[in-house]
Amino acid sequence: MIFQCGDLERALRTPELMPDARAHAERCEHCRTQLYLWAEISRVAPELHQDWESDRLWPRIQASLMAEPVKARSRFSPFLRLTLAAAATIALAVVLLYPRHTMPPADELLTDAALSQVQQAEAAYAASIANLAAVAGPELQKSPSPLSAAYREKLTMLDSAIAALKTTAAQNPYNAYLRSELASLYGEKKRTLEEWMKDAKRN
């Protein structure tokens, strides 16, 4: 092959042509320089790696990581998390929107005395359900059966809905509708726990 300056580009891409390119470069100063630079770029490049002492960088990073709020690690699958989020959103939307259309406030608002009674009863009811949950809970958490898993999921959803409703009720303490909804959710939780205990005894 008669190698010419115009072949250099092709030679750089094709290692088989390099011997011809080198032979040509012995007679051609331009190509000699080009080949020299091509090789030097690869040789010198690693020297461009930059490293310097930065003793304060890791402590800075560490401080910024520790200042980050630690997200609660979810024990549930993404699908279940989505379902729970959707259920909580729907529950909240129902609670927030429904009373505006249906509730005649004058009739259904509680007086101070009635509110105090309701709150006491509600606290006692919640405490009794918490006791029930404490009795059933350890066994329920341990049980590997799919039925128990379904009960656990339902209870988690109920707890989530109760928490959301309690927050709303705290902002509207005199709203009797919210109180009755809360009571019905507590009732549902109680029934669920009782059902599971019955099933557990049967099996």
Binding site: L12, T33, W38, P46, W52, W58, I61, A67
Partner: protein, 189 residues
Amino acid sequence: MVGASQLALMGRLPTADYQSEAELLAACRRREIGAFEQLYRTHGARLKSIAYHTAGNRQDAEDAVQETFLKAYRAIDGFTGASAIGTWLCRICINACYDLVRKRQLETDRTQPEGPRISPQPQQALRAQLDQALGRIDARRRMVFLLFAVEGMKHSEIAAILEIPEGTSKAWLFEAKRELQRLLTETRS
């Protein structure tokens, strides 16, 4: 905010060694600071160098590396493990650098509309000439050159970081070298 006493305490925290990447990833997902420290010890130097060449100075490079770890800490649950953690960190770092460069560019445009960032003072040594030439070539080709020729990464890793085919990585490396060769020839003549 973390106070001085907490910072002092942090300095004494023992560092854990995670034997496998899976173990390390699991610890990162538990938000164990020691796991992130191991990532820093393993990949920090390379990230700093990449950030330096992209951002242009050490202070910005360190800021970009800090931002990299913060983003990784926040996003670790979304990391599927499809690539190596180091590859993922590199990708975050490069994006953090580009964000920083854009921000700095805006600041420069506001404060110094005319001043060039890099001193035009001529450099004679080939290393310095190459360093300067590198700043003048296309950003994507520069990044491939940086990762391959400077940081010693493989084309398969570069392809994963930049989300390009391996063949493109090879082609861009060749084009980067040709462009650098042209610029160095100009400088020397």
